[in-house]
Structures are given as structure tokens and as C-alpha cells.
């Protein structure tokens, strides 16, 4: 939701439909960005003082000095386990501590030894231990190069854009200049600082005004900036959240990409404006190598990208190649943050999956969601009352469309007081929840972080009396305007506050709740309707820190406390499900994310793909967009296409604005109801595959929904593809996202691959652009030859109803007539998988034998599910099919063979899904 109905806002938003860009800052309007961006590449004023170098087993430290102002910085360099280099730069002696982001890294990273290979007055060469990787620290000017053999993988400060605004005393308001001098001459300071060159005080250093809001900036300028050069790289990705292409664009002719969590009303497509969440991680890819940069800073951040090939046409590039001239392509990146320190993790790959696991080793992996949350979610602002919920629930049964969750938006509360129910509309919530439970379905109710300032509201009184609210610059409780009217914002950066918040989800605290009620955190950027850029004032305080320092982290903390609450209420047994709108690096550990308040437009359907792909690349796999579009009313065609596309995206939820007409799936005539039913059913048949991919994501950190280049890293044709993608390795999806489409052209990668249309079983060769004619029922999806995908074809009214149902294995043979896949089964909702209560099997087809082998012999779990059918795509006709089970028994199986499509269907082999078996095709 967005601040739509607030009168003050409503008035200035008239009828036009677009983001009001004037509400949000450009780089020019953000004083530190303007200051930093005014610095142009050139010789860096920083020099490494090699004589200060100290090398211990775990780290190297070295002082840097700025020759212009003599301020010293401390550089720390660590070699981390798994081919990661960490570089930290802070002031050697800051006036007061600078913010270092806590709670994002899952643990203090394990270091590995560094050793000096050589050293002279110009610099130091360090060995990174693996292969022939070295770090070269050049002293004058300071720069840092990471090499492998003779190749430079990445250079830092090679363009001289390292900048570090040291904390300083305010000069312009000090009455006595002598007193100032005395302070400057504080013996604690370096001798050099007394000679400090007078730096000119610029506008916006000590105070900044945007629209009617003044940022008091008591700490003065504190920005940090650093440049990275990536030789050989033409493609960079990541740094969500932006409504932009998968491949990041160069920013020379516009604003940098901005990372600052904001509630952007009616966001615009294809621009670098900040949105609801921020993950300061960029992934760089070339046919040779994939690397990543993680800039661990939670303040407002801007990222500039430029490239030496950006302006060149394909012809120009060819000419370069033919003439053998020209420099190697190179991408230059520059990060600018408003406060904090420079703390970067350079992930050296070399493969995409290495980068994923390197990043996962730092910030953790995707939380393993309850199976049901991978089903379909029905949401609307708002389902009006219990009767409404009941009739929508009944509608799904009447129209035989499965769903798992129905959602309640803000109107379910008693006057926007979260943790309460409207006494008239939701008088007996437990009765309602029991009704859903009887159908094995669940509910999500919203809990936002803004708390109504109301002396009769228990939650408010408790938070206030415990002093848990964020404070304004004058020390009082910060108040802003949000859904309930005047609201305050709990300080989620405090562990004690989060613990208290978590305790509020206990069944005896949060009245009317049951175990099938889950939570949705919206507005956690945080959204403050009357705040600067619709968010919190930067000079609000969180204990010792300013909101400026922690801003991008707030949303993560809200979700962290909420997820913890759901875990605790079940005594640590049940997995939580919490959806968030704001996020940061590490949010993947906490639940699902959606792309916020999109609109019922084809462009928004289309952009949901690159937006979720970008999140997946930086760890957040559980991503989705509001099906149908939040604002405005979709045409029937758009709605159907969105249901079809959404069925193949990780988080599958329909949602609609309160002012739009109803759009439950059966309101558009029987034909469209049937189309939507079919799309949702396809989703449910594939739940076993989705679930095991999420298990994999949870274990390895690799994205569930991924760009093609992740699996085909050398195929240049895939590098900018964003109208199709892979689910796991084995399903390629090219949804129809154009109005009135008659066909789509899908690129099928891999010259040695074959791909099978999952609907017709038609086989296609890889490395081709395939034109696929489409009708309204078409959802182009292909299974990779060489894969085995388990499905459950008995689609029931919810995923929980399908728990014990049998599997059908889809074995798609490659050119070598082999295939493999996995099968993961557990109880679907508890943490017992951590106690090895699961089934994890490897399925292999080779030499005409299909077998199931236990991948986790020490795990134990039993299932009622069995294998009811095996479909072999690209098969030849066997004379007989024999099943051999673990007890040594053999039996002949019946089968059908469709010669026209080369599809072999083995009838009812019947073995338990958790058992060992082999099946021979003779």
C-alpha cells in the first residue's frame, strides 16, 4: 500500500498517474552526492604510509594519509575464507566513532592468512593464498589492485575517487576562532592536523533543506566514496531495488543508481530512482569470470557506473577487434555513501555460483519457507469482514482454484492499531481462522511498524514507557504521520526492542491469532507521510546513532523482529512466513519480499522479471510482484497474463488497491476463470520442484529464479536477457508479457542442449531463437534435456491437501540420453529439517537405468507419497521396463509409448518416494 488516502497528500496528487519525482531527491539535491560527484577522476590525494603497515596472521593494517588535509585513515585488509577479500577504511582517529553496520553479517567472517610476497618503497605485494592471486598496494598515490596471473581482476581507487569526509568541529558557528585552533591542536590529534588546510565550508555540509524539511546535520559532512575498476567487464548487475533493466546501465548522462529505502508512490519504470529496498551488492560478469562487490553501508548510497564501451556500436566494437586496437573493455563503478565507513567485500568468484556462495557465507542464505507459502496467495486491500473472507474462500472452492493464503490489509485492525482486530468486521477472528484451518488454508494479517500515538493503545503505551521509540533530534519520541494518523516508530535497531516486539506475537499477547496466521510488514522503509521524501528525518536518533547511519537497515530489523516473533510463538518449532517491502543485505534470511506498489500496466508485468532476477542475484530468492498490478484496474488480458507469468515466479500473490473493482479470479467470465485456474494449477503441480529449489537456495545461496547467464556464463547472447529466465537449472520460462501477443521468441541456450516444451513435449535444439506462436492459454516453458523434475499432478485445494500425494517424475533426456535431478521431501513447515528429518534423493537416468539414491543417508523422514508415474521425454521405445526395489524384488511395469513425440509413460511403478530403487528400460 501507499499513502493514497491521506488527505494532505491526496490533494497534491491530483489525477495524473506517475511518480511525483519532485518528492524525491536527485543527486544534485542530495548535498553529499553533489559534493562527491563533483570530484572528477584524477590523481588521488591519498598516500599509503607503508611504514605503518602491520601484518598479523589474520589481517593487514596500513595508514593512508590525505596530502591535502593531512587526515589519516586506517586501512584494514583481510583474506576471508572462500576467496573473498575484505577492505575496511575508517578514520584513524575519528572525533567520535563512525557507524559500522551490525547484524547483517551472519558471523565474524573466518579469515585466512595473508603473506607478503614483496615490498619496496612503491608498494607491497601480498599473496591471496589461492592460485596466483595477489593484492598489490601502491603507495603514491594509494591504489589497490587484485591480480590473477597477469590479469587485473579489480582495481580500487585507480581513478582517484577515494574520499573520506572526516568528522570535524563545526567552524562557522564558533564565536572564538582561537578556541577552535586550540581544539584542533588537541594533543590527541596528529601533528599534521594542525596544519590542516582550511577546507571550505560548502552549502549542505552542516544543514540541508529539501522542500519544507530541514536536516540539521549536527555531525557535519561524513560521506565516504570509492571507485572500482573492472577490466574486461561489460556487464554489471544487482544493487536492487530499481525498476530498471537486469543489466545495469551506465549513469554518465543521468543520476547514479540510488539506494535509499523509500515509499515511492506510483513508481516509474526504467530509471535509477531508489525504491523500497536496498542491497548494496553488485555482480560483475564476463565470459571469463564473475565477481561481486558488497559495500556494507546502510546510509543513503549512490552508485555511478561508466564504461569505456558504453557508447560504442556493435560495429565499432567489431572494428576494434579487427584492427586489434583499442583498450580492453572496462567498467568503472563508484560508490558514495552519506556516512559510516568503507567496508567492502570483494568476492572473486570465479563462477557465478562461487559468488553466490561467497555472498551467502557473509550474509546467509534464503530462509527456507513453509511449503504452503510457495502456493498461491489471495490478497486485496481489503477483505472487508469475516463474511467477505468466507465468501472469497468459498469462491475458490466453487471455481476449483487452489490457494493457500488469504490476506488482510490494514482495514482489519481496530483503527490501524496493529495487533488488534476491528471489533465489528472481525469480531471473532479465531472462528475465521479455524474455518480456514478446516480447509487446510492459512491467513496473513498486516503488522506495520508505525504505532498509533494513542494513550488507550496497549502497544503504544508499552513502547513509550519502555523508551523504545526512535527519538527526534530534540530527544522526544519521534512522531510522524502514517495510516493511523499521528504515529511513532519503534527503534528496531535495539535488540531489547526486537525481543519485546517478538514477544507480542505470542498467542496470548496477539489476541485472536492461531498458528495458521502469518505476518506482513509493510511501510517499513519506514514510510512517514509527512517526512522528507516520505520517510524518517535523518537527524532522528537511534541511541548513539543517527537515522542517517542506519536508514537502509530499518526494514530488515522490522522483519527480523517479526520473524523471530513467529518462531517464538511456536516454541521454535514452526518456520515463519513474513513478507516485507523494505529490505537490505541479509533480508533473505527472514522471508519474502515483493516489489511494492506496482500498477496494472503491461510495463509493470514485464519489469517484474528483471526486478526479481536482480534480487535473486544478491541472495533474495523469495520475490514476487503484485499479480494484476496494485494501482489501477487491469484489463482481463493483462490479468490473465499476469497470473500466468506469476505462476512461474517465486512469490505468487494477487493484490489490489482499495479503490479498484474486485478482481477475484472468477469475475471475468468462465473462459478467463478457466485460464487463471490452469495457470494456478500449473504452479501447484510444480510445487515439489519449487520447494526443493528453495531448499537448495537455503543451503547454497544460489537464486531460485535466475538469469540465463548464471547457467550459461560463456554465452554472450544470454548476458542481457530479461524477458526469459530459468527456475533452478532446468526450467526455462518465457512468459507472454505483451498485449495482444501472437507469439514470442525464446532463446534456448546451449549448443549441446535440447529443450522440451513442457506442455506438448516437443523437443527443440539449444542455441537457437525459437518462435513460439501463442494463444491466451500459452505459457511458454521448457524443460532442459538432462533433467528430472518431480511434480504432483493431483492438484487439490491447497498445498497442504496435497501433502501425501504421489509424484510423477518428468525425465527429460539430453543428447547423451542421460538425465539427473533431485527429490527433497520434509514435513513442509517445521525446523525439523535442521534435525535431519527429511528425504533427499538423487535421481539419475544413465545407461537406460533410472535410479533413486539417497543423498542424505543420515537423514530420516518417512512419507506416504509414492511414485505414480514416470514420463520420459526424448525416449525410445523399450521392450520392457523392470523395477527393482530395495528388498530385491523385481516387477515388470506397464508403459505407453507415444512414438510421435518420443514420450514414454511408465504406469504406476508404485514405490515409496523415499525408497531406493532402480528401473531398467530394456
Amino acid at each position: 500500500m501507499a499513502p493514497l488516502l491521506v488527505l494532505g497528500l491526496a490533494l497534491c496528487l491530483s489525477g495524473t498517474w506517475a511518480v511525483d519525482k519532485g518528492n524525491f531527491k536527485t543527486c544534485e539535491q542530495s548535498a553529499f552526492c553533489k559534493r562527491q560527484r563533483a570530484l572528477k577522476p584524477g590523481e588521488s590525494p591519498y598516500r599509503a604510509l607503508l611504514e605503518t603497515m602491520e601484518l598479523t596472521n589474520t589481517r593487514l593494517t596500513l595508514q593512508l594519509i590525505n596530502d591535502n588535509n593531512k587526515v589519516r585513515l586506517l586501512l584494514e585488509l583481510y583474506r576471508l575464507q572462500g576467496n573473498i577479500t575484505r577492505v575496511k577504511i575508517n578514520e584513524l582517529k575519528p572525533l567520535k566513532p563512525r557507524y559500522e553496520v551490525p547484524d547483517v553479517l551472519i558471523r565474524e567472517p573466518t579469515t585466512e592468512p595473508l603473506s607478503v610476497l614483496s615490498q619496496d618503497e612503491n608498494g607491497v605485494v601480498l599473496s591471496l593464498g589461492v592460485e596466483s592471486q595477489r593484492v598489490i598496494i601502491s603507495a603514491r598515490p594509494f591504489r589497490l589492485d587484485i591480480m590473477e596471473g597477469s590479469d587485473v581482476l579489480m582495481s580500487l581507487n585507480s581513478r582517484g575517487l577515494l574520499a573520506f569526509e572526516h568528522l570535524r568541529m563545526r567552524k562557522d558557528t564558533q564565536a572564538d576562532p582561537e578556541a577552535e585552533k586550540k581544539e584542533e591542536a588537541d594533543p590527541a590529534n596528529q601533528a599534521e592536523t594542525t596544519k590542516e588546510e582550511e577546507e571550505k565550508v560548502e552549502d549542505g555540509m552542516w544543514e540541508e533543506t529539501f522542500k519544507s524539511h530541514t536536516d540539521s546535520k549536527p555531525n557535519g559532512p561524513s560521506a565516504v566514496s570509492l571507485d572500482f575498476s573492472l577490466p574486461g567487464v561489460e556487464h554489471v548487475y544487482g544493487i536492487p531495488e530499481h525498476a530498471d533493466t537486469l543489466r545495469l546501465k551506465t549513469t554518465d548522462n543521468g543520476d547514479p543508481y540510488r539506494l535509499y529505502n523509500l515509499d515511492v508512490f506510483q513508481y516509474e519504470l526504467y530509471n535509477p530512482m531508489a525504491l523500497y529496498g536496498s542491497v548494496p551488492v553488485m555482480v560483475a560478469h564476463s565470459a571469463q569470470r564473475t565477481t561481486g562487490i558488497f559495500w556494507l553501508n546502510a546510509a543513503e548510497t549512490w552508485v555511478d557506473i561508466s564504461s569505456n564501451t558504453a557508447g560504442k556500436t556493435v560495429f565499432g566494437k567489431m572494428l576494434d577487434y579487427v584492427q586489434g586496437s583499442s583498450e580492453t573493455p572496462q567498467t568503472d563503478v563508484r560508490w558514495i555513501s552519506e556516512s559510516g565507513i568503507i567496508d567492502i567485500f570483494i568476492m572473486l568468484g570465479p563462477t557465478p555460483k562461487d559468488v553466490f556462495s561467497q555472498y551467502a557465507s557473509l550474509t546467509g542464505t534464503q530462509s527456507f519457507p513453509p511449503l504452503a507459502s510457495l502456493g498461491y496467495h489471495q490478497c486485496r486491500w481489503n477483505y472487508n469482514d469475516q463474511e467477505d473472507v468466507k465468501s472469497v474462500d468459498a469462491g475458490f472452492d466453487e471455481h476449483d482454484i487452489p490457494y493457500d493464503f488469504i490476506w488482510l490489509d490494514i482495514e482489519h485492525t481496530d483503527g490501524k492499531r496493529y495487533f488488534t482486530w476491528d471489533p465489528h468486521k472481525f469480531a471473532t477472528p479465531k472462528e475465521m481462522l479455524q474455518g480456514l484451518m478446516d480447509k487446510k488454508r492459512k491467513m496473513v494479517a498486516i503488522v506495520d511498524p508505525h504505532i498509533k500515538v494513542d494513550g488507550n493503545y496497549k502497544i503504544h503505551n508499552e513502547i513509550r514507557s519502555r523508551g523504545f521509540y526512535v527519538k527526534n533530534k530534540d530527544g522526544g519520541d519521534y512522531e510522524g504521520w502514517c495510516w493511523p494518523g499521528s504515529a511513532s516508530y519503534p527503534d528496531f535497531t535495539r535488540a531489547d526492542m526486537r525481543a519485546w516486539w517478538a514477544s507480542m506475537f505470542a498467542y496470548d499477547q496477539y489476541e485472536g491469532t492461531m498458528e495458521n496466521l502469518y505476518t506482513w510488514n509493510d511501510m517499513n522503509e519506514p514510510s512517514v507521510f509527512n517526512g522528507p521524501e516520505v520517510t524518517m528525518h535523518k537527524d532522528a536518533t537511534h541511541g548513539a546513532w543517527e537515522h542517517r547511519d542506519i536508514h537502509n537497515l530499518y526494514g530488515l530489523y522490522v522483519q527480523m523482529a517479526t520473524a523471530e516473533g513467529l518462531i517464538q510463538r511456536s516454541g521454535g518449532v514452526e518456520r515463519p512466513f513474513v513478507l516485507t517491502r523494505a529490505f537490505f543485505a541479509g533480508s533473505q534470511r527472514l522471508g519474502a519480499v515483493w516489489t511494492g506498489d506496482n500498477a496494472a500496466e503491461w510495463g509493470h508485468l514485464k519489469i517484474s522479471i528483471p526486478m526479481c532476477l536482480s534480487m535473486g542475484l544478491v541472495g533474495i530468492s523469495f520475490c514476487g510482484a503484485d499479480i494484476g498490478g496494485f494501482f489501477k484496474s487491469p484489463s482481463t488480458e493483462l490479468l490473465v497474463r499476469w497470473y500466468q507469468a506469476g505462476a512461474y515466479q517465486p512469490f505468487y500473490r494477487a493484490h489490489a488497491h482499495v479503490d479498484t473493482p474486485r478482481r477475484e479470479p472468477w469475475l471475468f467470465g468462465p473462459e478467463n476463470t478457466a485460464l487463471i485456474r490452469e495457470a494456478v494449477r500449473q504452479r501447484y503441480t510444480l510445487l515439489p520442484y519449487w520447494y526443493q529449489l528453495f531448499y537448495r537456495a537455503h543451503v547454497t545461496g544460489e537464486p531460485v529464479m535466475r538469469p540465463l547467464w548464471v547457467e550459461y556464463p560463456q554465452d554472450l547472447a544470454t548476458f542481457a536477457l530479461e524477458d526469459e529466465y530459468l527456475i533452478g537449472r532446468d526450467l526455462l520460462v518465457h512468459p507472454v508479457v505483451e498485449e495482444g501477443a501472437r507469439g514470442v521468441t525464446a532463446y534456448l541456450p546451449g549448443k549441446d542442449e535440447v529443450w522440451f516444451d513442457v506442455h506438448t513435449f516437443q523437443k527443440h535444439n539449444g542455441a537457437q531463437n525459437l518462435y513460439i506462436p501463442v494463444t491466451m492459454s500459452s505459457i511458454p516453458v521448457f524443460q532442459r534435456g538432462g533433467s528430472i523434475i518431480p511434480r504432483k499432478l493431483r492438484v487439490r485445494r491447497s498445498s497442504t491437501c496435497m501433502e501425501h500425494d504421489p509424484y510423477t517424475l518428468y525425465v527429460a533426456l539430453n543428447l547423451q540420453r542421460t538425465a539427473d535431478g533431485e527429490l527433497y521431501i520434509d514435513d513442509g513447515h517445521t525446523f525439523n529439517y535442521e534435525k535431519k528429518e527429511f528425504i533427499y534423493r538423487k535421481l539419475t537416468f544413465a545407461n537406460k537405468v533410472l535410479s533413486s539414491v539417497n543423498l542424505a543417508p543420515d537423514a530420516k523422514f518417512t512419507t506416504d507419497s509414492w511414485i505414480e508415474r514416470i514420463i520420459v521425454l526424448g525416449a525410445s521405445k523399450p521392450s520392457k521396463v523392470t523395477l527393482k526395489t530395495a528388498d530385491g524384488q523385481e516387477k515388470q511395469l506397464e508403459f505407453d509409448f507415444d512414438a510421435s513425440m518420443s514420450v514414454l509413460t511408465v504406469r504406476k511403478p508404485g514405490m515409496n518416494a523415499g525408497a531406493d530403487w532402480t528401473m531398467t528400460f530394456q
Binding site: 488527505l7 491526496a10 490533494l11 489525477g15 472487508n384 467477505d388 476449483d400 465489528h424 478446516d438 480447509k439 487446510k440 482499495v658 479503490d659 479498484t660 473493482p661 474486485r662 494449477r681 499432478l793 493431483r794 492438484v795 487439490r796 485445494r797 491437501c801 496435497m802 500425494d805 505414480e868 508415474r869 504406469r907 504406476k908
Partner: protein, 530 residues
């Protein structure tokens, strides 16, 4: 009844014990296709399979017909006999899913779900409710007949009345014409007499004016004739610089001479001939005031009025206004009156001041005026009566031609209103007119739609009313209301809701929608399924 039922139940137990065997989930009507021991042909004829593959939990038939009793086929359906209640089909995906769907529990034979057989209870409730509904329908239908009867009578009445009124309209028209002639005849002498009177007054006014003028001329002459020699001379004139003909700041002797008609001085008689050269500009020595021209002052009074008039229509973008068009209209009317009355009064006042009152009419003229006024009043009266009759005819014609249902059974709702009070609002349905909503604790009324059309499905078009084009929603459509009609003895709004923002739904019971109740003896043939 209960005895009969028990008997049936016993019978059914007996029968099922003896007869059996049709595969699980097969309805009686399809029993013949599933013959124990014989190969089974899928009901779509696509293939034939051994009988032991029927209900073996594997889907062999495209149409799902081989698995009527398991969940194996995605498109299968399962038949619940539901003895004691209504037999039904459920999708086979609901078999053994742990949720009790069939009241006879037969869908959950292998899921561990503990289902209670609720068919008898449901059957009883359904029969009771059917019974009740049938009674309502019966009574409602009777009422409906009465309504139809009344409507027809009403229609006849209206038609008769229309005839009457149309007849009286003719008379009235004739009367109006006659009175018009009378009026015009009376107005002719009135006009002439009034004109005479006016003329006489104007003559008199001119005379007075003329006298005033001569007096002023004489006065001016005396003032100008400084040396009191009985002549106004050029030097005497020059002391009055305001008389400078070209107003260039220098009043020359030549100019003064020009004013005096080319001579050096004039006597009283000659002054009269040049008076017109002087009188406009001359400023009295004793009183330098120039009376402002009358026209100017009147405009000045009117101007602020027109300003006010534009002010009274503030820009319509104040959001609070959206809810109450009607009240706003009334406000406008009131405002207009307030602003328009005062200036009219003031203008009249002014007129009196300047021109003096016209003397009253003489008796003869007054008599003529009174006679004419009487004729006018009578004519106006007759014309008003004619307009009323026209309205009456229009209304009657509208009512007569209005679609009040196949037998005009909904006619009685016309010009009635029905209210429902909820926790927050009072809803008001005025059939064939409009639907409104008013906050219970003060606040203005919102139009939820004006009569649009009958909007039921084709086979029962009169079961739904649609009211459209109500007050607009902010950034949204205008409000509309769908009214669903169900059979009831009483005419009453039973519920309202707003399923989508600004789209209202109202449940309305009335006898007019009641259908002739079907024969109530249904239970017996339902039980034949057993």
C-alpha cells in the same frame, strides 16, 4: 413424516447391503457402465481397460472416468449419495484430502479425517428451510397476485385519470385562450391611460426642469456679472478657468469671446443664447461641487455585486464536497438569492431619489389598471393550472408506460422508500428513483445511484435492479448500487454491503418477486437414489 423417513432409511440400509456393487464414486445413473469383471471402456470411448483398473488409484482415462472413487484423475468427479440429504458430485481432488465434503463422509475413506455423517441433519434443515421458503413463497405469491390486481386496478385508474386529465386539459386550454383575450382587451386601455399619465408627468417634469434651468442661468449670470452692470463680459468670464473650451490651462480672451458668441459682453437675453456653452462646465463660486453623473453611481453599485456572483462558485476541488451534490445545489440557490436581492432594492431607492415620485394615477386610470390586473391574474392562474395538468399527464404517462414487471407487480414500490440502519449508516432505497446513504450520527446524504435498469440474468431479469451514476468517488467511478430481490412476505431491505469501493450491493425482499411455489412433495423422489 418421520415414520416414513425412518422406513426409507431402513429400506436403504437393507438395499445397500443386498445390492451393492457399483464402484466407489459412481452415481446410480452411470452404474451400467461399470460392470464388475468386464473390461471398462472410458466414458469418452477413448480406450478400454481391465476392470481391475477402475478405481486402482491410477488415471487411465483422459476423461477421468476410470477413477470415480480416487483422486488419481485431475478432471474426475466423485458422487456422494448423501442419503438423507441431496446427492452431489465433488471434484475428485477432494477425495481423501482430509476435509469432509460429502455429508455422508464417503469422500474421506482413507485420509484419517474423522467425519460425522451430517446428511440427516442437513436434510432436516434443508427441508425445514425449503418448507419455510415454500410457505413464504406461497404467501408471497398470494400477496403478489393481490399486488398485480392492485397494480392493474391502479393502472386502470391511472389510465382513466389520464383520460380525465386530458379532457380537462382541453377545457383549460380553451379557458386560457379566452382569458388571454380578456386580458389583452383590458391591457390596451390600461396601457393608453398609463402612457397618458406618464406623458403628463414628464411634461410637467420638463417644465419644472426648464424653470430650474432659467433660475440657475439667472443665478449664474448674476454671479458672473461681477460688476453688476447687467452684462457678462470677457474679463468676467476669464475668472472662471474651468470654462476654458480646450482645457489647455490657458483661458484666452479669444476663447472667452468665442464663448460669448463673438462679442465682448452679453446681456441677460443674449446670455440665454450662449448658456449652453457655459452650463456644463460652470462651477458655482459659492459651491464648487460637481454633481456626479447619475449613470456612473449606479454602475459603481452594481459592480461589486457581479464580483460577488463569481465568488459564490468556489473551485470545485474541495474533496469534502464530493459526497453531497444535492445539498450543494441547494446552497447555491440560497446564495444566489442572498446576493441578488439587495442591489435591486438599492437601485429602486436611487431612482426615487433622483427623479422624484410619480404622482399617483388618477382614479380613472387606476380603475383601468385594476381591471387589467384582475384579467392578468385570472389568466396566470389558468395558465398555472394548465401547466399542472401537463405535469400530471407526463407523470401519469411515465407511470403507465414504466416497466413494473411482467404484470406490473412492482408498481406498488413506485414513490415508496425503504430504509435499513447499520452500525454506521442509514441506507435508503427508493425503488425506481434512487439509493442513498446517510451517516447515522450526522452528516450529509450520499447518492449511491439513480434508477438505471432491471439487470437480472436473462431468465429472471426482474431479480436485480441497477442504480447508477451516483455521487462520484475520489479518483474513481461514480457510485452504483445493485439491488438483489428475493421473495418475501414483507417489503424490506435486509442487508447492504460494499464489495468493491463505491459499488454497493443491497438485498431486498418483496412479494412481487415470489414465484408460484413448486409442489412441496420433493423428498420422496430424491430418495429414489437409494
Amino acid at each position: 413424516m418421520s415414520c416414513q423417513f425412518l422406513l426409507l432409511l431402513l429400506l436403504s440400509v437393507g438395499v445397500s447391503a443386498v445390492e451393492v456393487q457399483r464402484p466407489r464414486g459412481v452415481p446410480l445413473s452411470k452404474r451400467q457402465f461399470y460392470e464388475e469383471g468386464k473390461p471398462f471402456t472410458c466414458l469418452d470411448g477413448s480406450r478400454t481397460i481391465p476392470f481391475d483398473r477402475v478405481n486402482d488409484d491410477y488415471c487411465d482415462c483422459q476423461d477421468g472416468s476410470d477413477e470415480p472413487g480416487t483422486a488419481a484423475c485431475p478432471n474426475g468427479s466423485f458422487h456422494c449419495t448423501n442419503a438423507g440429504f441431496r446427492p452431489t458430485f465433488i471434484p475428485s481432488s477432494r477425495i481423501n484430502d482430509g476435509i469432509c465434503d460429502c455429508c455422508d463422509t464417503t469422500d474421506e475413506y482413507n485420509s484419517g479425517a474423522t467425519c460425522q455423517n451430517t446428511c440427516r441433519e442437513l436434510g432436516r434443515k434443508e427441508r425445514e428451510s425449503l418448507q419455510k421458503m415454500a410457505e413464504i413463497a406461497k404467501e408471497g405469491f398470494l400477496l403478489k397476485q393481490q399486488l398485480i390486481h392492485e397494480a392493474n386496478r391502479g393502472l386502470e385508474d391511472k389510465k382513466a385519470k389520464l383520460g380525465d386529465v386530458q379532457g380537462s386539459k382541453k377545457d383549460l386550454e380553451a379557458k386560457v385562450e379566452a382569458l388571454r383575450t380578456v386580458k389583452e382587451a383590458a391591457e390596451q386601455p390600461e396601457r393608453e391611460a398609463k402612457e397618458r399619465h406618464l406623458k403628463a408627468w414628464e411634461d410637467q417634469k420638463a417644465l419644472i426642469q426648464k424653470e430650474k434651468e432659467s433660475a440657475r442661468m439667472a443665478e449664474v449670470f448674476l454671479e458672473l456679472d461681477d460688476d453688476a452692470d447687467g452684462f457678462v463680459s470677457v474679463p468676467e468670464l476669464l475668472s472662471h478657468s474651468e470654462l476654458d473650451p480646450d482645457a489647455d490651462g490657458s483661458f484666452t480672451e479669444a476663447e472667452a469671446q468665442g464663448l460669448l458668441g463673438g462679442v465682448d459682453k452679453v446681456d441677460t437675453a443674449a446670455f440665454e443664447s450662449i448658456w449652453s456653452n457655459v452650463k456644463e462646465k460652470y462651477m458655482s463660486e459659492s459651491n464648487a461641487d460637481t454633481p456626479a453623473p447619475e449613470e456612473t453611481s449606479r454602475e459603481e453599485i452594481n459592480e461589486p455585486v457581479s464580483d460577488n456572483e463569481s465568488d459564490q462558485y468556489p473551485d470545485d476541488d474541495i474533496p469534502e464536497d464530493e459526497d453531497d451534490d444535492d445539498e450543494e445545489d441547494e446552497d447555491d440557490d440560497r446564495d444566489e438569492h442572498e446576493y441578488k436581492i439587495p442591489p435591486t432594492a438599492r437601485t429602486e431607492e436611487k431612482k426615487d431619489d433622483d427623479e422624484g415620485a410619480m404622482p399617483p394615477y388618477d382614479q380613472e386610470t387606476q380603475n383601468l389598471i385594476d381591471a387589467a390586473q384582475k384579467a392578468r391574474d385570472e389568466f396566470d392562474e389558468a395558465e398555472r393550472a394548465l401547466r399542472e395538468v401537463d405535469d400530471q399527464i407526463r407523470n401519469l404517462e411515465k407511470e403507465i408506460s414504466f416497466d413494473f414487471g411482467p404484470s406490473s407487480e412492482f408498481a406498488y414500490l413506485y414513490s415508496q422508500c425503504y430504509e435499513l440502519t447499520t452500525s454506521e449508516y442509514i441506507y435508503r432505497l427508493c425503488p425506481f428513483n434512487r439509493v442513498t446513504q446517510k451517516p447515522k450520527f450526522g452528516g450529509s446524504e450520499t447518492n449511491l445511484g439513480s434508477w438505471g435498469k432491471w439487470a437480472g440474468p436473462e431468465d429472471s431479469i426482474y431479480s436485480v435492479m441497477k442504480y447508477e451514476h451516483g455521487t462520484g468517488c475520489w479518483q474513481g467511478p461514480s457510485r452504483s448500487t445493485t439491488v438483489k430481490l428475493t421473495c418475501g412476505k414483507e417489503t424490506v431491505v435486509t442487508s447492504t454491503s460494499e464489495p468493491s469501493r463505491c459499488e454497493y450491493l443491497m438485498e431486498f425482499t418483496c412479494p412481487a418477486i415470489c414465484q408460484e411455489p413448486p409442489n412441496l412433495e420433493i423428498s420422496s423422489h430424491e430418495h429414489q437414489e437409494l
